[in-house]
């Protein structure tokens, strides 16, 4: 961008000279050169930022009424629902907001997988993203424990017990986590503390994520580098600000649909029964966004093995930039990868479905096959594809595929030999 922004008013100049905030925002949110061909799958970054801010604001006000104590937590949430002004509204935004957050993050990740956004030079953006995803999982899990319903309690029990699979130190680690000999008040209080803290750490990581993004700039549906000094880019504002806001509005309509019309659809009815340490619900299921990983945990007939596989299923994502050996980024130009991509996605959804079914009979067998396939995709298919696949020729620039034949011929004629 040639137009270097200069603050105009005297006050702005005075501030910017001492702390160049205005210049910083201008450079990164206004002038920032963005490939001109980004589609709607690129709007989820902005949507995710909105989700995070929504969770932080609604969470802060919920925390003004919530009491983190095993005897009082459940009734304090009912108090929020019945007595606090607009309490039901704020809580439903927060509870459904977590689901919307995960819908958005899964789409955002699927986008990155399809267009190869994790490849050189964007590896760190992707890896920071994996850490954000991990923190989101931890935050949402601990948040779900706070209302202290039956699912809260038994979810917390099953998940904290995963640590007891660690050889030798397992029991001391779980007792340390619980601050007792079972899930109870001490655990609830520390989960509340961490649930409050982690979103702010996520916020910090988001800043690093965007910073790392603004070094090489955005990837794009063609998966090719922007030609410097060409007409491949447009300034972020107004082009993408408007596009992002439009997508965000559509997202908010769906979000509002959940909040106002079926606020408990994604939750579990058992969580409106207060935690009872003497009775396990018939059927324990985690929140929908954890189901694929839960299915992997249950697919393995061994306690420690199950835990290791579940953790690996997420950890393996961090190594993706090196597991995928193909230099071509976008699936548009990778005919084989494109098919395996959809199989992988279908398999992931299948795992999600299996995670919600009882762990018996045919479900266990299919879970095992799907689990194996999940890992085969990363460990065998992706590395091999890079060597055997014949990719389609890449366009020379972002503008090229949209030019018509005549223009292309004209361009080729003028291009230096």
């Amino acid at each position: 961008m040639s137009t270097d922004y200069k603050p105009q008013s005297a006050v702005a100049k005075w501030i910017d000279k001492r702390l160049p905030l205005i210049t910083l925002f201008n450079g990164h949110l206004m002038q920032y050169p963005t490939p001109k061909n980004l589609n709607y799958w690129w709007t989820f970054g902005g949507i995710l930022t909105f989700c995070l801010v929504t969770q932080i604001i609604t969470g802060l006000v919920l925390a003004m009424h919530y009491i983190a104590d095993a005897d009082l937590a459940f009734s304090s949430v009912e108090h929020i629902m019945r007595d606090v002004n607009y309490g039901w509204f704020l809580r439903y935004i927060h509870a459904n907001g977590a689901s919307m957050f995960f819908i958005a993050v899964y789409i955002h990740m699927a986008r990155s997988l399809f267009y190869g956004s994790y490849k050189e030079p964007r590896e760190l953006i992707w890896i920071i993203g994996v850490f954000i995803f991990l923190l989101m999982i931890a935050t949402a899990f601990m948040g779900y424990v706070l209302p202290w319903g039956q699912m809260s309690f038994w979810g917390a029990t099953v998940i904290t017990n995963l640590f007891s699979a660690i050889p030798v130190f397992g029991e001391s680690i779980t007792n340390w986590l619980w601050g007792g000999y079972s899930v109870g008040s001490p655990l609830l209080t520390r989960f509340f503390t961490l649930h409050y803290l982690l979103p702010f750490l996520i916020f910090g990581l988001v800043i690093l994520h965007v910073w790392a993004l603004h070094v090489p700039g955005n990837n794009n549906p063609e998966g090719i580098d922007v030609v410097q000094g060409s007409q491949d880019t447009v300034p972020f504002h107004p082009h993408y600000v408007v596009k992002d806001v439009f997508a965000l509005l559509v997202f908010m309509i769906i979000f509002a649909g959940f909040v106002f019309f079926t606020p408990n659809l994604l939750g579990h009815t058992d969580n409106y029964i207060q935690a009872n340490p003497l009775q396990t619900p018939e059927h324990i299921v985690p929140e929908w966004y954890f189901l694929p990983f839960y299915a992997i945990l249950r697919a393995i007939p061994d306690k420690l093995g199950g835990v290791i596989m579940m953790v690996s299923a997420i950890a393996i994502l961090a190594f993706l930039p090196w597991l995928d050996t193909s230099k071509v980024r976008s699936a548009k130009y990778r005919p084989l990868f494109r098919q395996f991509y959809w199989i992988f996605l279908a398999n992931f959804l299948l795992l999600g479905y299996l995670g919600a079914q009882p762990a018996e009979g045919i479900y266990v067998i299919i879970s095992r096959i799907a689990t194996i396939y999940y890992f085969v995709h990363f460990i065998i298919i992706l590395p091999v594809l890079g060597f055997v696949e014949k990719t389609k020729p890449l366009p020379k620039s972002i503008s090229e595929p949209v030019l018509n034949d005549k223009e292309r011929a004209a361009k080729a004629a003028t291009a230096p030999a």
Binding site: W154, T157, V158, I159, T160, N161, L162, S164, N175, W176, L177, W178, G179, G180, Y181, S182, V183, G184, P186, R190, P277, L278, Q279, T280, E282, H283, I284, R298, I300, P301, D302, K303, L304, G306, P358, A359, E360
Partner: protein
């Protein structure tokens, strides 16, 4: 190396400063980590006395000990016989019934599935003992794991018969 540098006062200061800082940081870590362990008030509740006089054979009760359920089952003759007949080779976590009870009629054990901590349901499962619905572990009439993901038998807590009708757990 030919030009190995002599150890200077400055090297010494560097290393000792770093070493002291590391030791200091580790020392601060101890209270920060240890505060999360079970505290004195939690440990103080560590034993429970139970009156079992009203339990008839074939009936069991569940009591809370350290926040965990404990099953106290008065077993029938059939259940005891079943538990004793099992061949030790058939057990994933081999343990004979005699080592799991003080009096064969009374089975006292922590009612927490050794897989991931759910509470198994009584009189259920393929071995007429307990069945954990969470991920499908089957326990026999001695509370031993027979089938499913749980790695070990249901845990036997420390307990004593104070008299014929009273059990003290913990």
């Amino acid at each position: 190396m030919s030009d190995s540098k002599p150890v200077t006062r400055r090297n010494f200061l560097y290393i000792s400063t770093a070493a002291f800082s590391a030791a200091g940081a580790a020392a601060i870590g101890i209270p920060l980590v240890s505060q999360m362990n079970p505290d004195a008030s939690v440990k103080a509740l560590a034993s429970t006395e139970v009156d079992v006089s009203t339990i008839v054979p074939g009936q069991s009760i569940t009591v809370l000990w350290r926040g965990k359920p404990v099953f106290i089952r008065r077993r029938t003759e059939v259940e005891i016989a079943e538990a004793k007949e099992v061949k030790i080779e058939d057990l994933p976590d081999p343990e004979i019934d005699d080592n799991r009870v003080k009096n064969p009629e009374w089975l006292v054990m922590v009612g927490i599935c050794t897989h991931l901590g759910c509470i198994p349901l009584g009189n259920k499962g393929d071995y007429n003992g307990w069945f954990c619905p969470c991920h499908g572990s089957h326990y026999d009439t001695s509370g031993r794991i027979r089938k499913g993901p749980a790695p070990t038998n249901l845990e036997i807590p420390d307990y004593v018969f104070l008299d014929d009708n009273t059990i003290k757990i913990g």
